[in-house]
């Protein structure tokens, strides 16, 4: 009882308005702040330039906030990928605006939004490395990906189909994997195609993308919690993203950030 009272008092003190509102979306509107979690190390989707988080998702959020939540301030926390989904579950933020690769396991644990981009897997190699000309050439070679990522899972799944399994190293984020590729410690990095194209575009002297892609088509989405409290916020994001896909806004932004429009469904494919 004493604990309950203390908790209630603390909640009231810290959050005078929200203590009485009924669900997450109405609390966000009442407080005037939407807090989202982002891993701002994923160019061109979300990265930091001059101290600001910019990129494809930042542009989408600008459009979305102006039309759906004009009175609300957007607070974007930057934290490592490994803290993103746990932080969402621990209610450290209301929603995840960072590229989450859609997997069946994640669809069970989180509410994944309408897709925001194509995430099909591809391979990055050192420029001019003739020993890798297709994904299957990774067999027996040291390769890298990000710990806890769907890309790593895809790589491990694909590795099993190769006779001579690649030696997989994992990194806290893709930047370290790219650095190790440049340093020659690994021979390939597996990530989604849009990210690899950006790496090769920025450092064409060092990196080269191996075509074709491998595995099934995959998508990036954003994520919310599955509880009832979050349902109206999830619905708001879905409705807005669907509208932006259908009216061509997302295609325009893809043109701007990826150099070409992607073919996106306006809902996630059924499991």
């Amino acid at each position: 009882m004493k604990h309950l009272l203390l908790t209630a008092a603390a909640t009231l003190l810290l959050n005078p308005v929200s203590a009485f509102a009924d669900d997450l979306l109405s609390r966000i509107k009442a407080d005037g702040v939407l807090t989202v979690g982002t891993e701002a190390r994923f160019p061109p989707f979300e990265f930091v330039e001059n101290g600001e988080i910019v990129g494809y998702s930042a542009d989408i959020m600008d459009v979305l906030m102006a039309s759906a939540l004009p009175e609300v301030e957007l607070k974007r926390l930057d934290l490592p990928w490994q803290g993103i989904l746990p932080g969402l579950a621990a209610e450290r933020f209301d929603y995840v605006v960072t590229s989450v690769t859609v997997t069946p396991e994640r669809r069970d644990a989180y509410y994944l939004s309408v897709p925001i981009a194509d995430a099909t897997m591809a391979v990055l190699k050192r420029a001019g490395d003739d020993s890798i000309s297709a994904p299957a050439d990774m067999a027996g070679k040291p390769v890298g990906s990000q710990a806890g990522s769907a890309q790593l899972a895809a790589l491990e799944g694909y590795a099993e189909t190769l006779g001579d399994a690649p030696k997989v190293s994992t990194y806290t984020d893709f930047s370290e994997a790219y650095a190790d590729l440049a340093a020659g410690r690994i021979d390939a990095v597996v990530n989604s195609l849009p990210n690899l194209l950006e790496a090769a575009r920025q450092r064409p002297d060092i990196f080269e993308v191996v075509v074709p892609t491998f595995g099934e088509p995959k998508y990036f989405s954003w994520a919310g919690r599955t509880d009832e409290d979050s349902a109206s916020l999830n619905a708001l994001f879905d409705a807005e993203l669907k509208r932006l896909i259908e009216d061509g806004t997302l295609a325009q932004l893809q043109e701007k950030w990826f150099g070409g429009a992607m073919n996106l469904p306006s809902a996630l494919p059924t499991k």
Partner: protein
């Protein structure tokens, strides 16, 4: 590397200020807590002494990364929801308090027993003994260790980005991933950390010299 430094100087300065701000707040909050712990571990009361020992063992014996995650992700479960920067300060303060208490304890223990006894014989009160006999000598003994602890804390603060505080290390990581030039970005961070360490050591040396002069008078 110079272009990278010039292009990103504003955010790098912000990163340095965050690193310094969080570290100094943690040191300042940890100091009184450390003194309380040091006093408690000298008490005759077994329960007080043992509680202090358990606290010190816990915070000295577990990784800072785990301590940060504990404060940030587990405290909300019991209704305490600290914003990222505050959570970082609290975690680092709790951590440095444990280390500082050991420094204070060792410093006080280093004052020869005979001097305290002599002061008691002369009729000095225990407060006078602390302020006139023990503290002046202990401070001189403790100062190098306290400077070392401050340097250690600045280094340890490079972990706070895991709970969404954008410190110097995180800034370097952000620059590394948007420019795809990791080596240069981390080199810049390294140089800035070295500069901070040199400045702090210089301040420590200056304080030591001043204490020595006082003693000579």
């Amino acid at each position: 590397m110079l272009d990278l430094l010039i292009d990103n100087q504003a955010v790098l300065i912000e990163g340095v200020l965050t690193t310094l701000g969080v570290s100094f707040l943690a040191i300042a909050l940890g100091a009184p807590l450390g003194l309380i712990l040091a006093t408690a571990s000298r008490q005759n009361n077994g329960l007080v002494r043992r509680s202090a020992r358990v606290y010190v063992s816990f915070w000295r014996g577990t990784p800072i990364l785990v301590q940060l995650l504990l404060i940030f992700y587990l405290l909300p479960a019991i209704g305490i929801n600290l914003p990222p920067t505050l959570a970082a300060v609290v975690a680092l303060a709790c951590n440095t308090a444990a280390f500082q208490s050991e420094i204070y304890r060792a410093g006080l223990a280093a004052v020869p027993e005979g001097e305290v006894e002599a002061a008691q014989m002369l009729g000095l009160s225990s407060r006078q003994i602390l302020t006139k006999i023990e503290a002046p000598q202990a401070i001189r003994i403790m100062l190098p260790a306290l400077v070392g602890e401050t340097l250690a804390l600045v280094r340890n603060s490079s972990l706070i980005s895991v709970i969404a505080v954008t410190d110097l290390t995180r800034r370097a990581q952000q620059i590394a991933s948007s420019t795809f030039q990791p080596l240069d970005s981390y080199m810049i961070a390294l140089i800035l950390y070295v500069a901070i360490a040199l400045a702090l050591s210089a301040i420590g040396m200056m304080l030591e010299r001043r204490l020595k002069q006082q003693e000579a008078h």
